[in-house]
């Protein structure tokens, strides 16, 4: 033991880091910041280091070649002992890292930590978020399966909308005219060199500023940030009620980081690695590409934008959103920090969280997409065929054959692009149905050219039987009038 101490001291006399490290780690922090609310930043950092290590371990096997990447993942998943576990930990580590970074951001926002003098810490943090998302996206590309391939196609199609230079940007991003080998090597370089390098450098700066400016104090209602007095007040707070960061506050960081890593490992063990889905063969079109969890909300937004708004939205909103985040501390650098005095801030977080959650949820079952196989795999419910005439049953066959089912559900099964048709007869008269089927409209294609008159008649007769037993089918009032008994003359 004494020998070890001698070696340590011999090294320290040469490296001379001990004083610096001791000073920085034992610096006093406000007592109330030794809180479980203050553990997300350190957990993000732990996850980053974890991702670097698991990433390097995967790089021992992964082949960044369009012709071999997918196969090398199969080897990792199925042949190499515990290769699946490493992939799973890197994949789940990625999800946890994005989640923890977002929570960290929401927390520092609600605690007003971006205000004077920590403006730049926040701004660097915004770029750290963007880089983290960049890692998540490029990591998904390296999986190089069908989702990755067509995800790149979506990215290229969005980039192509940039005025004037869109076409160039696409070729620059893809490394050529198509998504192929040159694309994968680019994204490999981004994922393992460029973005991690920037991340580590900016994390260093971010942490450095936290050390130099001090951790954000626990906000109190009425304690207002003023440029002229804040530094003095903070110093006073730390002097009067400070505790050393190590060990009084750091133990919570350590425990939480350990818990997060354990959670990653447990998820990895129980749920396994992400994909790869089908091999990236562009001629296999039986595919339903979908982005990873943290990009589902974007996928959903793109389904709901009106075509005329889409390009401006894609090009302007992201720039605007980043600009708002970057410049937020310069707009609101002073004032109240406590959330109870910042209703707009709390409302903003809630609106964003709810919108994000809703869009992500929609993205998990994509109601806007046709169910491509519903027409051949989901039969018409038997009760919709009972007591029907042969012509009406023929209509049910037309209904299936013409793939109406891909967009319209019956009995709760089928596409959700269009309305479910279980009670369509109560909403539309026969004539209205014919018009809708032949001419389309309201986001439905026109089937006038695809249906013979006999098919149309059969189809509409079938649809006209779709109403609850106690509720009659809708009828045209003008025709009703023709059948109506003459009012008795006075």
């Amino acid at each position: 033991m004494r020998r070890l101490k001698e070696i340590y001291e011999w090294v320290n006399r040469r490296v001379q880091l001990q004083d610096f490290v001791v000073e920085e780690t034992t610096h006093p922090v406000p007592r109330k910041t030794a809180s479980w609310w203050y553990v997300f930043g350190s957990a993000s950092f732990t996850l980053l280091i974890f991702q670097v290590f698991t990433g390097i371990l995967l790089a021992l096997v992964y082949v960044p070649s369009a012709g071999h990447a997918w196969n090398s993942l199969q080897v990792l998943n199925h042949q190499l002992p515990l290769g699946w576990f490493l992939r799973a930990m890197h994949g789940w580590g990625s999800n946890f890292m994005v989640a923890v970074v977002l929570i960290h951001m929401a927390q520092v926002f609600l605690f007003g930590a971006y205000k004077f003098p920590r403006e730049l810490t926040w701004t660097v943090g915004v770029f750290l978020l963007l880089l983290t998302l960049g890692m998540a996206f490029t990591g998904q590309v390296l999986r190089f399966d069908q989702d990755a391939f067509w995800g790149l196609g979506i990215g290229a199609s969005m980039l192509a909308r940039v005025p004037w230079i869109g076409g160039w940007l696409v070729q620059f991003m893809l490394g050529g005219p198509t998504i192929a080998g040159a694309t994968l090597t680019r994204f490999f370089a981004l994922h393992v060199f460029i973005i991690p390098g920037m991340l580590l450098a900016l994390v260093g700066l971010h942490v450095w500023m936290v050390l130099k400016l001090g951790i954000n104090e626990w906000p109190m209602p009425g304690r207002v940030v003023r440029r002229s007095t804040y530094i003095q007040e903070y110093k006073e707070l730390v002097r009067k009620d400070g505790i050393p960061f190590v060990p009084d506050a750091v133990w919570k960081d350590i425990v939480f980081s350990g818990a997060i890593l354990l959670a990653v490992a447990v998820c990895a063990f129980y749920f396994g690695p992400f994909g790869p889905s089908g091999m990236p063969d562009p001629s296999i079109i039986q595919t339903v590409p979908k982005p990873d969890f943290f990009f589902l909300w974007i996928y959903s937004i793109l389904a709901f934008l009106p075509p005329s708004l889409e390009t401006p939205f894609m090009l302007i909103v992201p720039v605007l959103a980043v600009a708002i985040l970057v410049f937020l501390p310069f707009y609101a650098g002073e004032g109240e920090k406590h959330w109870s005095r910042r209703p707009v801030a709390v409302l903003a977080v809630m609106v964003i969280a709810i919108a994000w959650g809703t869009l992500t949820h929609l993205g998990t079952y994509t109601p806007w997409s046709p169910h491509m196989s519903a027409w051949s795999s989901d039969p018409v419910p038997v009760e919709y065929l009972e007591h029907r005439t042969p012509l009406e049953r023929q209509g049910a066959v037309v209904f299936q054959n013409k793939q109406c089912r891909d967009c319209h559900a019956l009995g709760g099964v089928g596409g959700m692009r269009g309305p479910a048709l279980d009670d369509v007869a109560t909403r539309l008269t026969e004539d209205q149905m014919i018009r809708q089927v032949l001419q389309g409209g309201g986001n439905m294609p026109a089937y006038g050219k695809q249906l013979s008159p006999a098919e149309t008649t059969a189809l509409v007769r079938f649809l006209d039987t779709l109403h609850p037993s106690g509720q009659p089918a809708a009828e045209d009032t003008s025709q009703q009038h023709g059948h109506a008994p003459q009012p008795a003359s006075p």
Binding site: S65, A66, G67, H68, F149, W150, G153, I154, A156, S157, M158, A160, V162, G167, L169, Q171, F172, G175, G176, P177, T178, A180, G181, A182, R227, S228, Y230, I231, M279, P280, P282, S283, I285, Q286, T287, V288, P289, Y299, L302, A303, L305, P307, S308, E310, W368, S369, P370, M372, N401, K402, Q403, D406, C407, R417, G440, N443, P445, A446, K449, Q450
Partner: protein, 199 residues
């Protein structure tokens, strides 16, 4: 700005005494000279690096005529999936060297060759012969048999490759992923870009 910023400055180190100010200025001159020299070298190196980085960006370089096979493999009146190899690929492209397209044989030597990519965001559209529609799995874009927009988010019809028939073989002018921005713009189908009807 800094005079209003109450963040305390870093403690300043005592600067060297002024006795060798002359030497100092000479050394500073040499430092500046060194920086300028490096800036010049940096610039000289950056230009070729930029050229290297922008290498894949070519204005007209990627398209060529590619055979999809004998005309007879595409029965008249039907729409079939065809595939071809990208003309400007690398040996390590693997299966991504392939590109698929939809060939609609209208009649005799009249064809329509559609890109597989949805005009919305590039996902692969599927042909449904029964309903005579192309449907996109991503956001539900739908197109009629002639490629024109039928429903969903796409703002135009399917991208169409120029084609010709040479010695009974169907050739298309292809080689780059079709997007809304291709300089060598593919045919516009729904007439948005075509000349307005006169009269």
């Amino acid at each position: 700005m800094s005079h209003q910023d109450p963040v305390p400055d870093e403690p300043k180190k005592e600067t060297d005494s002024k006795q060798d100010a002359r030497n100092l200025s000479r050394r500073w001159f040499l430092v500046k000279l060194g920086v300028a020299f490096n800036a010049a070298v940096g610039l000289a190196v950056t230009v070729p690096v930029l050229g290297y980085l922008l290498g894949p960006v070519k204005k007209h370089g990627y398209r060529s005529w590619i055979s999809l096979g004998a005309m007879g493999t595409f029965p008249a009146g039907e729409t079939r999936l065809a595939e071809f190899m990208n003309p400007s690929g690398h040996p390590w492209d693997g299966m991504t060297a392939k590109t698929a397209c939809w060939v609609r044989h209208v009649s005799e030597e009249k064809f329509q060759v559609f890109a597989i990519n949805c005009a919305h965001l590039g996902c692969p559209v599927r042909w449904f012969a029964q309903s005579q529609l192309f449907l996109c799995p991503c956001h539900g874009g739908a197109y009629y048999a002639d490629g024109s927009q039928a429903a969903g988010p796409p703002e135009r019809g399917l991208f169409e490759y120029p084609y010709k028939v040479v010695n009974g073989e169907l050739m298309i002018d292809a080689g780059q992923m079709p997007t809304l921005a291709n300089e060598a713009r593919l045919y516009q189908i729904d007439g948005k870009d075509s000349k307005p009807c006169v009269g």
